[in-house]
């Protein structure tokens, strides 16, 4: 089932008098339970692609749909409900990792007891139960990524979006992070990730490169054209 669709997406930034094209005609479909990895050098547009895919930034052209709904105008809702955009930078370095994971749940109105339970479960799921009582500032890079993922997983997303999850991660810890992302797909969660380190492409369901804003992938992985379906006038969802 298609979870996320990007169709003909373009993104431009103004830099003084100049306009920089960061994404050109990007089309991509991510199915439920699929792990898609995008490789690109610095400045290729990876982070922009992920922010647009997560609905954090609106495209200048094209459409982004999550579960059939266009993201522009629904970004806030969808981010909370279905898309987990993983920010690796953990604010509140003096906080315990458990608190880092719990706080967004409390902010979303979850009761303290329930939030704590869900945070503990998420840390377990992210392979970081031992980090719960450690201060965020004391975590190493791999642990930070796991806690950041736990913070997202606590909201039971259907799509996890993460930028460069293995950047700065110890060589022997790297595949543990990739295996964690892989394990999420086994639970039906789709993962869209980027990497500057091509070793991170190993084991992905779909591997793509982003070069000067253009997304490329092997032909057999290329996707059928996305057809925009319009609901007929007077259409109503059945009960």
């Amino acid at each position: 089932m298609t979870l996320l669709e990007l169709h003909g997406v373009a993104k431009r930034y103004r830099e003084g008098q100049l306009e920089r094209v960061v994404l050109r005609e990007v089309s991509l479909r991510i199915d439920a339970g699929e792990l898609a990895m995008v490789w690109g050098v610095r400045g290729a547009g990876r982070s922009t692609l992920l922010r647009v895919a997560a609905g954090i930034e609106a495209p200048d052209e094209g459409v982004v749909r999550f579960e059939g709904r266009e993201l522009s105008g629904h970004g806030g809702d969808v981010l909370g409900a279905g898309i987990g955009y993983c920010q690796k930078l953990l604010r509140g370095g003096s906080q315990l990792a458990l608190e880092v994971v719990t706080m967004p749940l409390l902010a979303a109105g979850v009761s303290p007891a329930c939030a704590r339970t869900r945070a503990c479960e998420a840390l377990e799921r992210a392979g970081a139960p031992g980090c719960a009582t450690l201060r965020a500032a004391s975590l190493d890079t791999a642990e930070t990524v796991r806690v950041a993922l736990a913070r997202v997983l606590a909201h039971d997303p259907r799509l996890v979006v993460i930028d460069d999850p293995i950047q700065g991660v110890d060589l022997f810890e790297r595949d543990g992070i990739l295996a964690l992302l892989r394990s999420l797909t086994g639970e039906g969660v789709a993962v869209l990730a980027s990497t500057t380190d091509a070793t991170g492409l190993a084991g992905a369901d779909r591997t793509l490169t982003l070069s000067e804003g253009e997304l490329r992938g092997p032909p057999q992985q290329q996707l059928a054209p996305v057809l925009a379906l319009r609901r007929p006038a007077g259409w109503r969802a059945s009960a």
Partner: protein, 201 residues
Amino acid sequence: MRAERDPQSAPMQSQVNWALLGLVIERPSYAYELAQRFDRTYAGVLTLSSVSHAYTALAALRERELIEELPGTRQGRQPKPHYRATAKGLDGYGQWLVAQLDEDLRRQRLFILSLATFTRDPQTALELLARYEQACLEEARGTPIAPRTAQHTGVCAGGAPELAARLAAEESRLAVGAKLAWVEYARRELMALPGARVAAR
């Protein structure tokens, strides 16, 4: 009159012979067991046509004094002569291993020179480059990940075959990474050629 060429002085070309020498270095043994180990170790990379191929290869290694028979192992009704590597064999094997790098570089250079013949036709070069990139992405996708667990703390964690698999996978991943970075560089160079940008879009 031309001098007779000594076949033993010529470099040993057979990959099978060198691979078998590696197994003898790993653990001295007899032909049948070496053939079995060969099949397990080099499955999908090198093949022995039959067990007798192992006997032929061992004979060639012995003639070149890269291995020698272990004394006292050619006894009994069914003698199983065991072989071990000589100092010459150890040294030669090391040199052959390092020479593989030259072979890799030669193959890569051949590819690049072949691609460079299309610089007058940037569109074709870019298309070939795109296909090469796609092959790299497929290779990357097919490479397994190997998360290390608590049991991977030993010197030879998981045993030699598992360690060899991890080392091979890592080498492959790093090599693909270097190739993708090179593709990015080459694409920019080709795009800078007159007419290429129009052709590529």
